[in-house]
């Protein structure tokens, strides 16, 4: 894990020379076996027959997706394929026209957004969605909201449960901040940070809620290769250390191929492939959909 905790400039220099998968299993193996083990069989999240259209334009049609606990599941596809719509349906921002969503044994027509955190789901946004007027620490801390019980009066006076909860969320937030190597900017206003750091703070905010399922909507968009490398490591570490199920939307095929356990491919709102990176890479429909697009880096290496 140590190689993720260098100062950024050093990290960038070091990582620029590394092959993509060099960091793959470098010490990130402290998996919480009990968490991963007993939930492998059951699906953490299942979509069935999800369709969505905007004013007659079909965004998603008849999508079935079964996400297993503890896996890193990527959803890829060309622009406009419906990837973000899918995340927005899982997080209750959109209501699907038909189909339903099953989360930890509960079935929903529309996921109740305000209960998302209680259901154990956290997400990041494609465009930055931090609270700019709060410090990094406060941005992270605030995500412990569903663990707080203190009344208004207790908060104002700083007595009773308020103090205990404050200490608890402070400790947990600091741990996550250190984990994501954000210690230097702990007290900076979130709005003043660089794009890459803000993305990382968003990840910290999502992780501190201790989600069972983490939805990441293009976490690498607009990042430098060095930033991407950092974040890839953090995502895998999050899964390995906290047993979090990860649903990842990403355009960078190299990142996706290296990071994912399984990949679902969308094209024009339909699921055209679903399987391990190796299976997906050799799938003719996927090759067709990506023809002419996939020229940046040659996806290498399979997955477990």
């Amino acid at each position: 894990m140590n190689q993720y905790f260098y100062p950024r400039s050093e990290l960038r220099a070091t990582i620029a020379n590394l092959p993509i998968h060099a960091e793959r299993n470098s010490g990130l193996s402290s998996v919480r076996e009990h968490e991963k083990g007993n939930s492998r069989q059951s699906g953490a999240l299942a979509l069935s027959g999800i369709s969505l259209s905007f004013g007659g334009v079909t965004a998603l049609s008849e999508i079935d997706l079964n996400i297993v606990s503890g896996e890193i599941r990527s959803i890829i596809g060309p622009n406009g394929a419906g990837k973000s719509s899918l995340i927005n349906i899982i997080s209750g921002v959109y209501r699907p026209d038909s189909g339903h969503i099953r989360i930890n044994g509960h079935t929903y027509q529309k996921v109740p957004t305000h209960q998302l955190a209680r259901l154990g789901i956290a997400r990041t946004f494609q465009n930055l969605a931090l609270f700019k007027g709060l410090s990094v620490l406060d941005n992270v801390k605030i995500s412990r909201v569903h663990h707080s019980r203190a009344t208004f009066l207790e908060q104002i006076t700083g007595l009773g449960r308020a103090r205990r909860e404050e200490t608890d969320s402070l400790n947990r937030s600091n741990a996550i901040i250190d984990f994501l190597d954000l210690g230097d900017v702990r007290h900076s206003l979130a709005g003043t940070l660089s794009y890459g750091l803000q993305k990382r703070v968003e990840l910290a905010r999502a992780l501190v809620a201790e989600p069972k399922i983490l939805l990441l909507d293009e976490p690498m968009a607009g990042m430098t290769p060095a930033d991407k490398q950092d974040l890839t490591g953090f995502i895998r570490a999050a899964r390995d250390q906290f047993g979090t199920t990860v649903v990842l939307i990403e355009h960078d095929i190299g990142v996706v191929m290296g990071l994912s356990d399984r990949i679902a491919v969308l094209d024009y709102g339909r699921k055209i492939a679903d399987g391990t990176p190796a299976e997906v890479r050799s799938n003719q429909a996927v090759i067709d959909a990506y023809m002419g697009i996939d020229h940046e880096e040659n996806p290498t290496g399979g997955s477990n």
């Binding site: 957004t113 955190a117 007027g133 709060l134 406060d138 208004f152 206003l189 809620a209």
Partner: protein, 347 residues
């Protein structure tokens, strides 16, 4: 008195400056000030600061724009007047709290549109509060105890047996109440709920997704803000003017309070005081300068017009040059010598 939005962790003793100000306000000013200073400057300054503080919690921290502040001032003033008048033996402090609660309840009612409306649309809907309250207070004579002119007179200010009479007494009365609420606000913006306000302001969807009760947070913002503005209304009526009519709580007053927080600095506690100071002192300076340079031509009519023009220009200037208000100007000025020395050491 640093708030959550202040850039960097404050110095070692962030409370030392406010404590010094407070010590001066209680220990020095009452002995050296003239009654003109108390009656024309300090008491209205305190009342407007408190109103600015209230609006700043709603607009600066929670991001809900309101143009109805004067309505809540009026509810506070007339509420306290009526509780005091109609409930025999009710201590003044209880009247004030009840007036604040009345303002908070009306604030919640007029805050309901915020659940669906944002920005300009919300601002327009808060105008409803402005017009409705002013209309109701004028229309129903009961509120002003059927006084033919619609004017109400303030009761004597006595709390816990201490009588706050005279210019200095009323100043101390206002100062004490403002101090209590400033302390509350300063605590509040650093609590979890205070952070919820900022989260809802900065990104409502993200706030909802992480589990912040957005609707409850917005209504709470309206309630707390209106409560504080209501109490500011009591100060305005009882400590400053002593006799008030509904006409004094018009849209101009609402805008004045919006100006205070914009000029002073949104989402800062100090900003409300900076802004109120400017709004109160500025006309006096303008009037003195006008008299000095223009003599008799500069009568009250010209003064009022020039006040508006200069104030308007000032606001435009502020929005362009210093959108974060007097507070950030102040902080920059304070840090400047520091920054220069740092550059020197680097070189």
């Amino acid at each position: 008195m640093d708030t959550v939005t202040v850039r960097k962790a404050p110095g070692h003793w962030p409370w030392i400056a406010p404590l010094l100000v407070l010590a001066t306000a209680y220990g020095v000013i009452p002995f050296i000030g003239t009654s003109y200073l108390f009656e024309a400057i300090l008491t209205p300054f305190l009342a407007l600061s408190l109103a600015g503080l209230g609006l700043n919690i709603l607009t600066g921290y929670a991001g809900q724009l309101s143009l109805g502040s004067a309505a809540f001032l009026a509810v506070g003033a007339f509420g306290a007047f009526n509780f005091n008048l109609r409930v025999q033996g009710l201590p003044l402090i209880v009247s004030i709290v009840l007036a604040g609660i009345s303002a908070a309840l009306i604030g919640i009612v007029f805050g309901l549109p915020s659940l669906r409306l944002k920005g300009f649309y919300l601002a327009i809907s808060t105008l409803a509060a402005q017009f409705f309250v002013q209309w109701a207070l004028t229309k129903f004579g009961w509120f002003s105890n059927n006084s033919p002119s619609g004017v109400i007179d303030a009761p004597p200010l006595t709390i816990f047996g201490i009588s706050f009479e005279g210019a200095v007494g009323r100043y101390l009365f206002a100062l004490t109440i403002v101090t209590i609420f400033t302390l509350f606000a300063w605590r509040f913006v650093n609590t979890r709920t205070g952070h919820h306000f900022i989260a809802v302001r900065d990104n409502e969807l993200a706030a909802k997704v992480i589990g912040i009760p957005v609707l409850r947070t917005k209504l709470l913002a309206f309630a707390i803000s209106s409560f504080i503005i209501g109490v500011a209304g009591v100060l305005w009526a009882f400590a400053y003017l002593r006799t008030v009519e509904t006409g004094g709580f018009n849209l101009d007053r609402s805008f004045q309070i919006v100006f205070i927080i914009i000029i002073g600095g949104l989402a800062t506690i100090r900003g409300s005081f900076f802004g109120a100071a400017l709004i109160v002192i500025f006309p006096l300076i303008l009037s003195r300068l006008g008299q000095l340079f223009l003599g008799d031509i500069f009568n009250s009519g010209v003064l009022e017009m020039s006040q508006r023009i200069v104030l308007g220009a000032l606001i435009i200037l502020f929005l362009i040059v210093e959108p974060n208000g007097l507070v950030s100007l102040w902080d920059r000025l304070r840090k400047k010598p520091l920054r220069l020395s740092r550059i020197k050491t680097i070189n």
